[in-house]
């Protein structure tokens, strides 16, 4: 599904190498987690894959299926099936959440040569999905993320994911700023989307989220590289001993 080979990335504005050769393959139907200390390059990886400005790819490749992600615009990556749940979802005053969702869904359908969703059909689907995530009608009407609590913003990310039905979902520290109940709600939203055709890459500092979204594979990232890969037990090891031991072990 997602194949990253020897990906090297530096900041565009300064001479600072962030990713120093990342190799990662996420298979369809699997949930991979990336853990790692602050500044290890986890969020950069998610931004580079989704096409944010400010980064320069100095080497390596990233493919979604056979689509070369690094060669196309952010909206084309989305239409190809990539989705990034933002660590800090952006507030957009003046753009209604519903308008935003419908524009996004139909833009992707159009880009893929599919028929656009009618207003009535869209409304039906969005209401059902919103209900599962306990998102009320008022939140759908309000401007995108404006005045939303931390939990509401993250639920709104998952709602977008549910509406867009991507092939590959990247969750960038989706647990940050969430209390336990909100995290459970978000996790159950994600779990509902798990299926054989869809891959997940869950970026997190803490093992906590992985209690609710159970990963198949756990990677430890440090200083721009994946330094260790294992099963779910690796996350527990981080939780119990911190990163220092693991990093010392691989050094």
């Amino acid at each position: 599904m997602l194949t990253i080979k020897d990906l090297r990335v530096k900041l565009e504005e300064e001479d600072k190498q962030i990713l120093k050769g990342v190799d990662l393959t996420v298979e369809a139907g699997k949930v991979h987690a990336i853990m790692g200390p602050n500044g290890s390059g986890k969020s950069t990886l998610s931004y580079v894959l989704s096409g944010r400005d400010g980064y320069e790819v100095t080497g390596g490749t990233a493919h979604l299926g056979d689509v070369d992600l690094l060669d196309i615009e952010p909206e084309e990556r989305a239409a190809a099936g990539l989705f990034l749940a933002f660590q800090y979802p952006v507030e957009i005053p003046g753009v209604g959440n519903m308008t935003f969702l419908r524009t996004a869904v139909n833009a992707q359908r159009k880009a893929r040569g599919e028929e656009e969703m009618s207003a009535a059909e869209f409304l039906k689907v969005v209401r059902a999905r919103a209900k599962e995530l306990q998102i009320d009608a008022d939140m759908l009407k309000r401007p995108v993320n404006v005045g939303f609590s931390g939990g509401e913003k993250k639920r709104n990310e998952i709602l977008q994911m549910a509406m867009l039905e991507p092939k590959m979902c990247i969750l960038d520290e989706t647990d940050s700023g969430l209390d336990v109940d909100a995290m459970k709600l978000v996790a159950s939203g994600v779990n509902a989307l798990r299926d054989a055709g869809r891959g997940f890459l869950v970026i997190t500092h803490y093992q906590r989220l992985l209690d609710h979204i159970k990963p198949d594979v756990v990677h430890i990232m440090s200083d721009g590289r994946i330094v260790k890969t294992g099963g779910p037990e690796l996350a527990l090891e981080v939780e119990n001993n911190g990163y220092a031991d693991i990093l010392a072990e691989v050094a």
Binding site: S50, D53, E75, A78, L84, E91, I92, G94, A107, L164
Partner: protein, 425 residues
Amino acid sequence: MAAPALNTDPTEARIADLTLPTGGWSEAARVDALARLRSAGLPQRRDEYWKFTRPDLLTQSTAQAAVLDHDEAPIFSGTEALRIVFDDGVFNPDASDALAMEHVSIERLTDTQADIHWAKGLYGVLEQAGQTPVLRPLAALNTAFASDGVLIHVMGKAPKAINLVYNHRLETSDAILHHVIKLDAGADLTILENGPAAARFNKVMEVDIGDGASFHHVRAQGRDHERLAATHIFARLGTESTFKSFTLTVNGRLTRNDCIIELTGDDAVAHVAGACVGDGDFHHDDTVFITHDALRCESRQVFKKVLRNGAVGVFQGKILVKQGAQKTDGYQISQSLLLDDDAQFLAKPELEIYADDVVCSHGSTSGAIDDEALFYLRSRGVPAAIATDLLTLAFLAEAVDEIENEELREVLVDRLEGWLERHRG
């Protein structure tokens, strides 16, 4: 008068091009206005309120030609209204509806030879009052030389809106229109205005709003047209009355919209808003002067401009709170969205307050499209051009939302969307 050969004064030269209509009830007002024009002189670049906008195109003898462009249906054609049509500033009775409506009397300015008292008491009167403290010579010129217009007297709730439609048919037409609108106590009227009007258009609308009366005004200027326009609205508000005006301007080589409002009765409310989108050879100037001269009045100025490719936006907005106008609530915001480095926004917000128990706030900003928001939308699959349009409409929303009527708001948003689609960068 000096012999034409010796006459090099631009004001006299302009006056010499025009013919003062004589006879009838308006003659005295016209003669007075001509004297005001002579004493003020036409606006010049050195004048305080003409520093950002070149007055010469508006004052020179011959109007610059404006290419005709009729490919778009008039914006309010689907809206229920009594239509009054002017072609190049001349009333077209065949294209207009019958000038009759319940609670409303409508007469053509030039048809009216009889001594109509209400119009005589207003024609040029609000304009003259609005010449202090800032001179408005183009409005005095209008009062003197207006060749057409309507006189509307509203005695109750008008059953539907009146739509003034300004068609442009001749490439070099130069039109001067003057409307007078009087709302009796408790009356209610909506005026819709649209169309490029002429190659050059000078329009004055005087609106006298009685106690408890309500006046709504929605205007669409432009249609990607090359025309030049100088318009003035002079409004006087009675106790507990309401004035709400919104203007959409899409292109146009030069537009100067002056709005002069006097809150003379307690608890009156005046909102003036404008959204403009300009691409290329576009200069748009909103000049607003609101005087609070009564207790507990509220005024709001909301102006948003989207500019690209060398387009220039100007905002000059003033709130004057007179002594004794306590509990005034004044608000003013002017903002521009500059879509590239060549666009320019010039703003001059002014507050002058002589009462000590008032709330007045103002703000002015210029900015570009928010990159974070743009990336967020694109990461969800929205193409960059559509995402930019969405964010542009969002920027304009605060001004557009000043239109209370939802149907009219949608009509204007549709027009904006169409413009944005045609002018994608």
